[in-house]
């Protein structure tokens, strides 16, 4: 489903009202961030991608087809922007020291921007450690796919796209999208079986977070 009043928010954007973008961001930024994170494996880069994507969407809203669904259009922008993002070997957070009050490149002390907590005090530490390890290995396994396979797998199995939606977001024919998806899924089965076999336990586990908004 699409939020009923996406249309109103879109029309506000088209009139140059950035409040419309705020409305859309409130709805789509977290799923978009999560999509970008799974595609890139890096939270900071994912934030960059989503920020850029919303700006691009806002700038291009005049061309948005009235009555169309926002989420696939926007996820296409996110996916395309993620392709262009610079890969980084490690997850780095960069902050301009020059912008700190009284700061310059050689003036300690400096504080690192807080990384979002991977540790929730409400959750068993052992479970948290296991989840962290699981996350790292899922991202590593995804990183071993080709970029096209990874996009198809994440859009299908995280966002929940149909073949048609996959094709629209990836900018290819449905048959091509299916090929990428099946290739990616097969590769992922092999990668997980070979390197991360412990991930492939089939006992169902409840998902704590809601699925991303879809149309």
């Amino acid at each position: 489903m699409q939020f009923d009043d996406d249309g109103e928010a879109i029309r506000r954007c088209q009139r140059g009202d950035i409040g419309g973008l705020e409305t859309l961001m409130a709805r789509y930024q977290v799923p978009a961030l999560r999509l970008a994170y799974l595609l890139l494996g890096d939270r900071t880069t994912a934030e960059d991608v989503v920020q850029d994507s919303f700006l691009l969407a806002y700038q291009g809203m005049a061309r948005f087809r009235a009555g169309g669904a926002f989420s696939p259009w926007f996820y296409r922008i996110v996916t395309n922007t993620a392709r262009q993002q610079r890969r980084r070997a490690t997850t780095r957070r960069e902050i301009s020291v020059e912008r700190l009050p009284g700061g310059d490149a050689g003036s300690p002390p400096f504080a690192r921007a807080a990384e979002p907590s991977d540790r929730d005090p409400q959750v068993d530490p052992a479970l948290q450690a296991e989840r962290l390890e699981e996350r790292e290995e899922v991202l590593r396994a995804l990183a071993e796919l080709t970029r096209k396979q990874r996009e198809a797998v994440v859009l299908r199995y995280y966002v929940g796209c149909s073949d048609r939606e996959l094709a629209a977001i990836l900018g290819c024919r449905e048959g091509t999208a299916r090929q990428r998806l099946h290739g990616g899924l097969a590769a992922l089965r092999q990668i997980i079986a070979r390197r991360y076999a412990w991930l492939d336990v089939t006992a169902p586990t409840p998902t704590a977070s809601p699925p991303p908004p879809t149309h």
Partner: protein
Amino acid sequence: MRMPEQHVPDQFEDRLRTLLARAAEAIPPDTDVFEHVRQAHARGTHRSRVAGSRPVLATIAAVLVVALLAGALTFARPGGPLRPPGVTGTPTTAATATAASPIVIVPPICDASGSNEPVFPVGPRVDHSVAISGQVSVHGITLTLDRAYADATQTVITYHIQPGANLPQPEYPLLLDAQGSRYANFYSSSGQGGGGIAIFAPLPPEQLGTPQMLTFFTQRMRSVPQQYQVPTPPAVTLVDGPWQIPFTITPVAGTSVALSNAPATHNGLTIQPLRLDVAPPGGDLDGASGGERVLLRLSGLAPGMHLSDAANVGQAFILAGTASSSCGGGTLALVLPDGQPILPGLVQPVGLIVATTDAEVQAQRAQTVGPSGTVDLEAVFYAPIPAGTSVTLYFDDVRAQVAGVHKSTSVQGPWQFQLPPTP
């Protein structure tokens, strides 16, 4: 969005959905980047990886600086009180990694408390960079090298690009030496007007102190338009080159000491420091005031473990006006006698492919630990150590796959080594 009705997902697909959903939870549901977007929109500019382009993080950092100044930074010591950095404690005594070694606990860089932000000592700022000349134009984009400096911790180059509009910057720049070895670019930035800086992994010790012919190389230039239009892509313009400019520089030799510390083993993983290189002040081109490079050997790893996973430790630096830090599976640090840890700004397995293309990324991911189970790591620290100071090399725990274990786990240490006094 709906799944095709005729498709019946198997157990693996169900499991994959769950795994992806849980992995995605790294992004908390209350994340809000609207203010970033609003500010960028107000500036009318498109943001790229340019130093000084993360105002919200800068704000966060400023808040944390205040917290630091308020004494929030603490280093835990067993059996003793918490103390802030800079408070002189009992100097550690010279020893190799034995039970008698001083116990140093360095809090992990990504501790959620935010109370362990890294700080870096600084020394005198001396600029020993040299002017280099070299210019090349491709498709109307002219890259000119300006200055360079090299030592045991880095090779840094400044350049400018014309035309300077649209924030042009080299895409995946590389440094190559006369033998064809490639050195990774771990930091670069470009500013309005086309000026830029690129910092590369250091040359090996045998290339220090003598003139070296190096080449600055980038296959493509990336430019981010000031005004952009949808449809996307592209939001940025990539112009194919290559641009490559050779230049000669004599890297500052500094000192290099072969270490005699005995190897230490915990839970099947053996670590031994092999060499300490010390760079004197002189790299002020990017604000560096000296640094160190330590060569370490890890043994007991499982053959087949990804080579790139061997460097899974927190890293941090302040260079070129930018502070950068990354979480890792463990903490590696040089610890000063007063307890202040210096985190590495760069940690890389020796022999890891420097990847700038998709094919190279895949090749890098395919690199694994060999049958010997041994990997050498280079850890580079961008902070000076006072002459005559003996520091402790500290490794708390290592996320690694040790021989006989089927997956990566947190291998508990700590491994500690008292290094000889710096010259």
